[in-house]
Protein backbone atom coordinates (compact mmCIF):
# COMPACT_ATOMS: atom_id res chain seq x y z
CA UNK A 1 0.00 0.00 0.00
CA UNK A 2 2.86 2.35 0.87
CA UNK A 3 4.52 1.45 -2.42
CA UNK A 4 1.33 2.19 -4.27
CA UNK A 5 0.92 5.65 -2.71
CA UNK A 6 4.62 6.40 -3.28
CA UNK A 7 4.30 5.36 -6.88
CA UNK A 8 1.20 7.51 -7.43
CA UNK A 9 2.85 10.63 -5.97
CA UNK A 10 6.04 10.02 -7.93
CA UNK A 11 4.12 9.74 -11.16
CA UNK A 12 2.04 12.84 -10.40
CA UNK A 13 5.16 14.94 -9.90
CA UNK A 14 7.12 13.51 -12.86
CA UNK A 15 6.77 15.45 -16.12
CA UNK A 16 5.44 13.60 -19.15
CA UNK A 17 7.89 11.78 -21.41
CA UNK A 18 6.09 12.82 -24.57
CA UNK A 19 6.91 15.98 -26.50
CA UNK A 20 4.05 18.32 -27.32
CA UNK A 21 4.40 17.83 -31.05
CA UNK A 22 3.98 19.86 -33.32
CA UNK A 23 4.75 22.76 -30.91
CA UNK A 24 7.90 21.06 -29.63
CA UNK A 25 9.92 19.11 -32.15
CA UNK A 26 12.48 16.46 -31.37
CA UNK A 27 16.12 17.47 -31.86
CA UNK A 28 17.92 15.05 -34.13
CA UNK A 29 21.46 14.19 -33.02
CA UNK A 30 24.48 15.14 -35.12
CA UNK A 31 25.32 12.55 -37.74
CA UNK A 32 21.75 11.35 -38.28
CA UNK A 33 21.42 9.72 -41.67
CA UNK A 34 18.47 11.61 -43.13
CA UNK A 35 17.73 13.08 -46.55
CA UNK A 36 20.32 12.48 -49.31
CA UNK A 37 21.20 15.54 -51.38
CA UNK A 38 23.81 16.58 -53.94
CA UNK A 39 25.96 19.65 -54.53
CA UNK A 40 25.34 19.49 -58.25
CA UNK A 41 28.06 22.03 -59.18
CA UNK A 42 30.78 19.66 -57.97
CA UNK A 43 29.30 16.53 -59.61
CA UNK A 44 31.14 15.09 -62.62
CA UNK A 45 28.28 12.70 -63.46
CA UNK A 46 30.68 9.74 -63.36
CA UNK A 47 27.87 7.38 -62.32
CA UNK A 48 29.80 5.67 -59.47
CA UNK A 49 26.90 6.24 -57.10
CA UNK A 50 24.36 4.82 -59.55
CA UNK A 51 26.48 1.71 -60.09
CA UNK A 52 26.89 0.98 -56.36
CA UNK A 53 23.42 1.96 -55.05
CA UNK A 54 22.02 -1.26 -53.46
CA UNK A 55 18.41 -0.28 -54.15
CA UNK A 56 18.84 1.22 -57.67
CA UNK A 57 17.47 4.52 -56.44
CA UNK A 58 19.89 6.70 -58.42
CA UNK A 59 19.89 7.55 -62.11
CA UNK A 60 22.83 9.52 -63.55
CA UNK A 61 23.21 10.57 -67.17
CA UNK A 62 26.02 12.54 -68.81
CA UNK A 63 24.03 13.84 -71.75
CA UNK A 64 21.96 15.66 -70.68
CA UNK A 65 23.71 16.12 -67.33
CA UNK A 66 21.30 14.87 -64.71
CA UNK A 67 21.37 13.26 -61.27
CA UNK A 68 18.05 11.92 -60.04
CA UNK A 69 17.27 10.22 -56.76
CA UNK A 70 14.08 8.26 -56.27
CA UNK A 71 13.26 8.94 -52.59
CA UNK A 72 10.80 6.04 -52.48
CA UNK A 73 13.55 3.53 -53.35
CA UNK A 74 16.35 5.14 -51.32
CA UNK A 75 17.20 3.18 -48.16
CA UNK A 76 19.52 5.94 -46.85
CA UNK A 77 22.40 3.51 -46.41
CA UNK A 78 25.01 6.15 -47.28
CA UNK A 79 26.99 3.94 -49.69
CA UNK A 80 26.74 6.63 -52.41
CA UNK A 81 28.30 9.17 -50.02
CA UNK A 82 31.24 6.83 -49.40
CA UNK A 83 31.96 6.04 -53.06
CA UNK A 84 31.51 9.53 -54.52
CA UNK A 85 35.00 10.55 -55.79
CA UNK A 86 34.16 14.28 -55.54
CA UNK A 87 32.43 13.94 -52.15
CA UNK A 88 29.53 15.98 -53.45
CA UNK A 89 26.73 13.75 -52.08
CA UNK A 90 25.65 14.77 -48.60
CA UNK A 91 23.20 13.49 -45.99
CA UNK A 92 21.06 16.03 -44.16
CA UNK A 93 19.88 15.43 -40.62
CA UNK A 94 16.24 15.91 -41.59
CA UNK A 95 14.33 13.07 -43.19
CA UNK A 96 12.32 13.25 -46.41
CA UNK A 97 9.03 15.00 -45.90
CA UNK A 98 5.98 12.77 -46.43
CA UNK A 99 4.88 14.68 -49.55
CA UNK A 100 8.29 14.52 -51.25
Amino acid sequence: MVNLINSIFRKLTTPTECLRYPFVKRELPEGTRGRIDIEIDKCTFCGACEKRCPSNALKVTRDPKSWTLNPYSCIICGYCIEVCPKKCIIAHKEHYSPNV
Binding site: G31, R52, I75, G78, Y79
Partner: protein, 360 residues
Protein backbone atom coordinates in the same frame (compact mmCIF):
# COMPACT_ATOMS: atom_id res chain seq x y z
CA UNK B 1 -18.95 -35.20 -25.53
CA UNK B 2 -15.51 -34.25 -26.85
CA UNK B 3 -15.70 -32.26 -30.04
CA UNK B 4 -12.67 -31.75 -32.24
CA UNK B 5 -12.26 -28.33 -33.87
CA UNK B 6 -9.50 -26.59 -35.77
CA UNK B 7 -8.91 -22.96 -34.90
CA UNK B 8 -6.70 -20.73 -37.06
CA UNK B 9 -4.44 -18.61 -34.80
CA UNK B 10 -2.99 -15.76 -36.84
CA UNK B 11 -1.63 -14.54 -39.23
CA UNK B 12 -3.41 -11.41 -37.95
CA UNK B 13 -3.67 -11.62 -34.18
CA UNK B 14 -3.38 -8.89 -31.52
CA UNK B 15 -0.47 -10.58 -29.74
CA UNK B 16 1.53 -11.58 -32.80
CA UNK B 17 4.03 -8.95 -33.89
CA UNK B 18 4.48 -10.67 -37.23
CA UNK B 19 2.36 -12.94 -39.41
CA UNK B 20 2.47 -16.66 -38.77
CA UNK B 21 -0.53 -18.91 -38.81
CA UNK B 22 -0.95 -21.78 -36.38
CA UNK B 23 -3.68 -24.31 -37.11
CA UNK B 24 -4.69 -25.46 -33.65
CA UNK B 25 -6.49 -28.78 -33.53
CA UNK B 26 -8.58 -28.58 -30.36
CA UNK B 27 -10.45 -30.96 -28.14
CA UNK B 28 -12.67 -28.67 -26.12
CA UNK B 29 -10.17 -26.07 -24.72
CA UNK B 30 -7.12 -28.32 -25.06
CA UNK B 31 -4.76 -28.27 -28.03
CA UNK B 32 -3.90 -31.73 -29.30
CA UNK B 33 -1.93 -30.65 -32.36
CA UNK B 34 -0.46 -27.42 -33.71
CA UNK B 35 0.51 -27.01 -37.36
CA UNK B 36 2.36 -23.94 -38.61
CA UNK B 37 1.68 -22.18 -41.90
CA UNK B 38 4.43 -19.82 -42.98
CA UNK B 39 5.00 -17.92 -46.20
CA UNK B 40 3.11 -14.67 -45.70
CA UNK B 41 6.14 -12.39 -45.94
CA UNK B 42 8.65 -14.27 -48.05
CA UNK B 43 10.79 -11.65 -49.83
CA UNK B 44 13.24 -13.78 -51.82
CA UNK B 45 16.23 -12.14 -50.11
CA UNK B 46 18.58 -15.06 -50.74
CA UNK B 47 18.02 -14.78 -54.49
CA UNK B 48 18.43 -10.99 -54.46
CA UNK B 49 21.75 -11.48 -52.63
CA UNK B 50 23.08 -13.52 -55.56
CA UNK B 51 22.22 -10.70 -57.98
CA UNK B 52 23.94 -7.95 -55.99
CA UNK B 53 27.56 -7.07 -55.35
CA UNK B 54 28.98 -8.69 -52.19
CA UNK B 55 29.40 -5.22 -50.61
CA UNK B 56 25.80 -4.26 -51.44
CA UNK B 57 24.76 -7.49 -49.70
CA UNK B 58 25.85 -6.00 -46.34
CA UNK B 59 22.91 -3.59 -46.60
CA UNK B 60 20.66 -6.40 -47.77
CA UNK B 61 21.68 -8.72 -44.90
CA UNK B 62 21.03 -5.88 -42.47
CA UNK B 63 17.45 -5.71 -43.70
CA UNK B 64 16.68 -9.39 -43.10
CA UNK B 65 15.40 -8.42 -39.66
CA UNK B 66 14.10 -5.13 -38.37
CA UNK B 67 14.92 -5.86 -34.73
CA UNK B 68 18.37 -7.42 -34.64
CA UNK B 69 19.54 -5.86 -37.92
CA UNK B 70 23.09 -5.10 -36.78
CA UNK B 71 23.76 -8.73 -35.93
CA UNK B 72 22.76 -9.85 -39.42
CA UNK B 73 25.20 -7.43 -41.01
CA UNK B 74 27.86 -8.38 -38.45
CA UNK B 75 27.44 -12.07 -39.21
CA UNK B 76 27.57 -11.45 -42.95
CA UNK B 77 30.70 -9.31 -42.60
CA UNK B 78 32.36 -11.89 -40.33
CA UNK B 79 31.58 -14.57 -42.92
CA UNK B 80 33.00 -12.58 -45.84
CA UNK B 81 36.07 -11.59 -43.76
CA UNK B 82 36.70 -15.26 -42.99
CA UNK B 83 36.22 -16.15 -46.66
CA UNK B 84 38.61 -13.43 -47.86
CA UNK B 85 41.01 -13.95 -44.91
CA UNK B 86 40.75 -10.35 -43.71
CA UNK B 87 41.92 -9.45 -40.20
CA UNK B 88 39.90 -6.55 -38.80
CA UNK B 89 41.31 -4.11 -36.20
CA UNK B 90 40.67 -4.90 -32.51
CA UNK B 91 38.83 -1.63 -31.96
CA UNK B 92 36.31 -2.59 -34.65
CA UNK B 93 35.66 -5.89 -32.84
CA UNK B 94 34.87 -4.03 -29.61
CA UNK B 95 32.65 -1.54 -31.40
CA UNK B 96 30.75 -4.42 -33.00
CA UNK B 97 30.19 -5.97 -29.56
CA UNK B 98 28.88 -2.65 -28.17
CA UNK B 99 26.32 -2.21 -30.93
CA UNK B 100 25.39 -5.91 -30.93
CA UNK B 101 24.72 -5.79 -27.18
CA UNK B 102 22.64 -2.60 -27.41
CA UNK B 103 20.63 -4.44 -30.04
CA UNK B 104 20.22 -7.40 -27.67
CA UNK B 105 18.97 -5.13 -24.87
CA UNK B 106 16.45 -3.39 -27.12
CA UNK B 107 15.28 -6.71 -28.57
CA UNK B 108 14.83 -8.29 -25.12
CA UNK B 109 13.01 -5.21 -23.79
CA UNK B 110 10.79 -5.30 -26.87
CA UNK B 111 9.79 -8.92 -26.41
CA UNK B 112 9.39 -8.59 -22.62
CA UNK B 113 7.05 -5.66 -23.30
CA UNK B 114 5.10 -7.69 -25.84
CA UNK B 115 4.91 -10.55 -23.35
CA UNK B 116 3.50 -8.18 -20.72
CA UNK B 117 0.96 -7.05 -23.31
CA UNK B 118 0.11 -10.69 -24.14
CA UNK B 119 -0.87 -11.47 -20.55
CA UNK B 120 -2.73 -8.18 -20.22
CA UNK B 121 -0.26 -6.01 -18.27
CA UNK B 122 -0.32 -2.97 -20.57
CA UNK B 123 1.22 -0.58 -18.08
CA UNK B 124 4.33 -2.74 -17.80
CA UNK B 125 4.46 -3.02 -21.60
CA UNK B 126 4.58 0.75 -21.97
CA UNK B 127 7.15 1.23 -19.22
CA UNK B 128 9.46 -1.42 -20.69
CA UNK B 129 9.21 0.25 -24.08
CA UNK B 130 9.97 3.60 -22.48
CA UNK B 131 13.27 2.16 -21.23
CA UNK B 132 13.87 0.73 -24.69
CA UNK B 133 13.59 4.25 -26.09
CA UNK B 134 16.77 5.20 -24.18
CA UNK B 135 18.65 2.31 -25.77
CA UNK B 136 17.39 3.40 -29.19
CA UNK B 137 18.62 6.92 -28.40
CA UNK B 138 22.10 5.51 -27.71
CA UNK B 139 22.07 3.81 -31.10
CA UNK B 140 20.80 6.94 -32.85
CA UNK B 141 23.42 9.15 -31.29
CA UNK B 142 26.32 6.79 -32.01
CA UNK B 143 25.37 5.58 -35.48
CA UNK B 144 22.88 8.04 -36.97
CA UNK B 145 19.97 5.59 -37.09
CA UNK B 146 17.72 3.99 -34.51
CA UNK B 147 17.44 0.37 -35.63
CA UNK B 148 18.98 -0.18 -39.07
CA UNK B 149 22.35 1.11 -37.93
CA UNK B 150 24.27 0.73 -41.21
CA UNK B 151 27.66 0.95 -39.50
CA UNK B 152 28.98 -2.55 -40.08
CA UNK B 153 31.18 -2.94 -43.12
CA UNK B 154 33.44 -5.63 -44.52
CA UNK B 155 36.81 -4.91 -42.87
CA UNK B 156 35.51 -3.20 -39.73
CA UNK B 157 32.96 -0.55 -38.86
CA UNK B 158 32.14 2.87 -40.31
CA UNK B 159 31.79 5.02 -37.21
CA UNK B 160 33.81 5.39 -34.06
CA UNK B 161 32.70 6.03 -30.50
CA UNK B 162 34.46 9.12 -29.17
CA UNK B 163 35.23 9.54 -25.42
CA UNK B 164 32.29 12.01 -25.16
CA UNK B 165 29.94 9.45 -26.71
CA UNK B 166 31.37 6.78 -24.44
CA UNK B 167 30.53 8.94 -21.38
CA UNK B 168 27.05 9.53 -22.79
CA UNK B 169 26.51 5.76 -23.24
CA UNK B 170 27.65 5.05 -19.68
CA UNK B 171 25.30 7.71 -18.30
CA UNK B 172 22.35 6.33 -20.27
CA UNK B 173 23.14 2.75 -19.25
CA UNK B 174 23.20 3.81 -15.61
CA UNK B 175 19.80 5.48 -16.05
CA UNK B 176 18.47 2.31 -17.69
CA UNK B 177 19.87 0.08 -14.95
CA UNK B 178 18.22 2.23 -12.27
CA UNK B 179 14.81 1.70 -13.83
CA UNK B 180 15.17 -2.03 -14.44
CA UNK B 181 14.78 -3.54 -10.91
CA UNK B 182 11.29 -2.13 -10.38
CA UNK B 183 10.10 -3.31 -13.78
CA UNK B 184 11.74 -6.71 -13.48
CA UNK B 185 10.15 -7.24 -10.06
CA UNK B 186 6.76 -6.67 -11.69
CA UNK B 187 7.70 -9.18 -14.35
CA UNK B 188 9.19 -11.90 -12.16
CA UNK B 189 7.65 -11.51 -8.69
CA UNK B 190 4.06 -10.46 -9.36
CA UNK B 191 1.58 -13.13 -8.26
CA UNK B 192 -0.72 -12.97 -11.30
CA UNK B 193 2.22 -12.88 -13.72
CA UNK B 194 3.71 -15.95 -12.08
CA UNK B 195 0.35 -17.71 -12.42
CA UNK B 196 0.42 -17.05 -16.17
CA UNK B 197 4.04 -18.14 -16.71
CA UNK B 198 5.11 -20.86 -14.27
CA UNK B 199 4.60 -24.37 -15.61
CA UNK B 200 3.29 -23.08 -18.95
CA UNK B 201 4.84 -24.33 -22.19
CA UNK B 202 7.36 -26.65 -20.56
CA UNK B 203 10.21 -27.81 -22.79
CA UNK B 204 12.38 -30.41 -21.02
CA UNK B 205 16.15 -30.33 -21.56
CA UNK B 206 16.32 -33.56 -23.61
CA UNK B 207 13.41 -32.45 -25.80
CA UNK B 208 15.02 -29.02 -26.35
CA UNK B 209 18.18 -30.79 -27.52
CA UNK B 210 16.25 -33.24 -29.69
CA UNK B 211 14.18 -30.50 -31.39
CA UNK B 212 17.22 -28.29 -31.97
CA UNK B 213 16.05 -25.34 -29.88
CA UNK B 214 18.46 -22.40 -29.73
CA UNK B 215 18.96 -19.19 -27.78
CA UNK B 216 17.03 -18.28 -24.62
CA UNK B 217 14.54 -21.09 -25.34
CA UNK B 218 17.31 -23.70 -25.13
CA UNK B 219 19.12 -21.97 -22.27
CA UNK B 220 15.90 -21.78 -20.22
CA UNK B 221 15.65 -25.58 -20.55
CA UNK B 222 19.13 -25.98 -19.11
CA UNK B 223 21.13 -26.40 -22.33
CA UNK B 224 24.43 -24.57 -22.12
CA UNK B 225 24.64 -23.10 -25.59
CA UNK B 226 25.58 -19.53 -26.28
CA UNK B 227 27.91 -18.72 -29.16
CA UNK B 228 29.31 -15.74 -27.28
CA UNK B 229 31.24 -18.32 -25.24
CA UNK B 230 33.22 -19.20 -28.38
CA UNK B 231 34.71 -15.70 -28.17
CA UNK B 232 33.88 -14.36 -31.63
CA UNK B 233 34.40 -10.60 -32.18
CA UNK B 234 35.73 -9.36 -28.81
CA UNK B 235 33.62 -11.59 -26.54
CA UNK B 236 36.70 -13.65 -25.64
CA UNK B 237 38.17 -10.68 -23.72
CA UNK B 238 35.02 -9.52 -21.95
CA UNK B 239 34.48 -12.11 -19.16
CA UNK B 240 31.16 -13.22 -20.61
CA UNK B 241 29.03 -15.42 -18.35
CA UNK B 242 26.19 -17.44 -19.81
CA UNK B 243 22.70 -17.31 -18.25
CA UNK B 244 21.04 -20.71 -17.94
CA UNK B 245 17.61 -21.66 -16.59
CA UNK B 246 16.29 -25.00 -15.35
CA UNK B 247 12.57 -25.57 -15.68
CA UNK B 248 12.19 -24.76 -19.38
CA UNK B 249 8.82 -23.04 -18.92
CA UNK B 250 7.71 -19.54 -19.95
CA UNK B 251 8.80 -18.13 -16.58
CA UNK B 252 12.37 -19.40 -17.01
CA UNK B 253 12.51 -18.08 -20.56
CA UNK B 254 11.48 -14.66 -19.27
CA UNK B 255 14.01 -14.90 -16.44
CA UNK B 256 16.84 -15.78 -18.83
CA UNK B 257 16.01 -12.71 -20.95
CA UNK B 258 15.84 -10.48 -17.86
CA UNK B 259 19.24 -11.70 -16.63
CA UNK B 260 20.68 -11.30 -20.12
CA UNK B 261 19.73 -7.62 -19.99
CA UNK B 262 22.11 -7.19 -17.05
CA UNK B 263 24.78 -9.32 -18.80
CA UNK B 264 24.54 -7.09 -21.87
CA UNK B 265 24.80 -3.92 -19.78
CA UNK B 266 27.96 -5.31 -18.17
CA UNK B 267 29.39 -6.36 -21.53
CA UNK B 268 28.92 -2.87 -22.99
CA UNK B 269 30.55 -1.26 -19.95
CA UNK B 270 33.50 -3.67 -20.04
CA UNK B 271 33.88 -3.20 -23.80
CA UNK B 272 33.90 0.59 -23.46
CA UNK B 273 36.51 0.32 -20.69
CA UNK B 274 38.81 -2.14 -22.45
CA UNK B 275 38.41 -0.88 -26.02
CA UNK B 276 41.90 -0.33 -27.49
CA UNK B 277 42.85 2.74 -29.52
CA UNK B 278 43.56 2.36 -33.22
CA UNK B 279 41.94 2.19 -36.63
CA UNK B 280 38.33 1.05 -36.99
CA UNK B 281 38.54 -0.57 -40.40
CA UNK B 282 40.88 -1.97 -43.03
CA UNK B 283 40.49 -1.60 -46.79
CA UNK B 284 39.25 -4.75 -48.48
CA UNK B 285 40.03 -5.27 -52.13
CA UNK B 286 39.18 -8.06 -54.53
CA UNK B 287 36.32 -10.53 -54.56
CA UNK B 288 35.35 -13.50 -52.38
CA UNK B 289 37.19 -16.62 -53.65
CA UNK B 290 35.46 -19.75 -54.90
CA UNK B 291 35.12 -21.19 -51.44
CA UNK B 292 32.46 -21.57 -48.77
CA UNK B 293 32.01 -20.53 -45.17
CA UNK B 294 29.44 -21.02 -42.40
CA UNK B 295 29.18 -17.87 -40.30
CA UNK B 296 27.61 -18.19 -36.84
CA UNK B 297 26.63 -15.58 -34.31
CA UNK B 298 24.48 -15.33 -31.17
CA UNK B 299 21.44 -13.22 -31.88
CA UNK B 300 18.92 -12.17 -29.18
CA UNK B 301 16.79 -15.15 -30.26
CA UNK B 302 19.60 -17.67 -30.61
CA UNK B 303 22.11 -18.93 -33.09
CA UNK B 304 22.07 -17.32 -36.52
CA UNK B 305 23.75 -19.20 -39.38
CA UNK B 306 24.79 -17.80 -42.74
CA UNK B 307 26.12 -20.12 -45.42
CA UNK B 308 28.11 -18.07 -47.91
CA UNK B 309 29.68 -19.48 -51.08
CA UNK B 310 31.76 -17.28 -53.35
CA UNK B 311 32.73 -17.94 -56.97
CA UNK B 312 35.65 -15.58 -57.55
CA UNK B 313 33.43 -12.78 -58.87
CA UNK B 314 31.84 -9.87 -57.02
CA UNK B 315 28.55 -11.79 -56.88
CA UNK B 316 27.99 -14.64 -54.46
CA UNK B 317 27.22 -18.13 -55.70
CA UNK B 318 24.91 -18.86 -52.78
CA UNK B 319 23.73 -17.09 -49.65
CA UNK B 320 21.67 -19.15 -47.24
CA UNK B 321 20.17 -17.89 -44.00
CA UNK B 322 19.06 -20.05 -41.04
CA UNK B 323 17.49 -17.87 -38.40
CA UNK B 324 16.89 -18.83 -34.73
CA UNK B 325 13.10 -18.58 -34.97
CA UNK B 326 13.16 -21.23 -37.69
CA UNK B 327 15.09 -23.51 -35.32
CA UNK B 328 12.68 -22.76 -32.47
CA UNK B 329 9.46 -23.51 -34.40
CA UNK B 330 9.53 -27.31 -33.70
CA UNK B 331 10.03 -26.48 -30.00
CA UNK B 332 7.04 -24.11 -30.15
CA UNK B 333 4.82 -26.80 -31.68
CA UNK B 334 5.91 -29.25 -28.98
CA UNK B 335 5.06 -26.72 -26.23
CA UNK B 336 1.66 -25.97 -27.74
CA UNK B 337 0.61 -29.62 -27.80
CA UNK B 338 -1.40 -30.28 -24.67
CA UNK B 339 -1.73 -26.67 -23.53
CA UNK B 340 -4.87 -24.60 -23.03
CA UNK B 341 -6.04 -22.20 -25.74
CA UNK B 342 -5.67 -19.22 -23.37
CA UNK B 343 -1.92 -19.98 -22.98
CA UNK B 344 -1.15 -19.94 -26.72
CA UNK B 345 -0.34 -16.19 -26.94
CA UNK B 346 2.08 -16.36 -24.00
CA UNK B 347 3.83 -19.49 -25.31
CA UNK B 348 4.08 -18.07 -28.84
CA UNK B 349 5.55 -14.79 -27.59
CA UNK B 350 7.96 -16.57 -25.25
CA UNK B 351 9.98 -18.07 -28.11
CA UNK B 352 10.42 -14.46 -29.36
CA UNK B 353 9.15 -15.18 -32.88
CA UNK B 354 10.64 -13.15 -35.70
CA UNK B 355 8.85 -14.33 -38.79
CA UNK B 356 10.26 -11.92 -41.35
CA UNK B 357 13.78 -13.24 -40.58
CA UNK B 358 12.52 -16.79 -40.81
CA UNK B 359 10.94 -16.34 -44.21
CA UNK B 360 13.66 -14.03 -45.57
Amino acid sequence: MIRRNTIPFGPQHPVLPEPIQLHLVMENEKIIQALPAVGYIHRGLEKIAEKKDYIQDVYLAERICGICSFMHSQNYCQGIEELMKVQIPDRAKYLRVIWAETHRIHSHLLILGLLADAFGFENLFMRLWKVREQILNIMEKTTGARVILGVCAIGGVKRDITPELSDYILRELEAVEKQLPELMDSLLKDYSVKQRLIGVGVLPKDKAHELGAVGPVARASGLRMDLRETGYAAYGDLDFKMVVGEAGDCYDRTMVRVKELYTSLDLIRTALKRMPQGPISVAVKGSPPADEVLARIEQPRGELNFYIRGNGTRNLERFRVRTPTFANLPALLHQLTGCELADVPVIAICIDPCISCTER
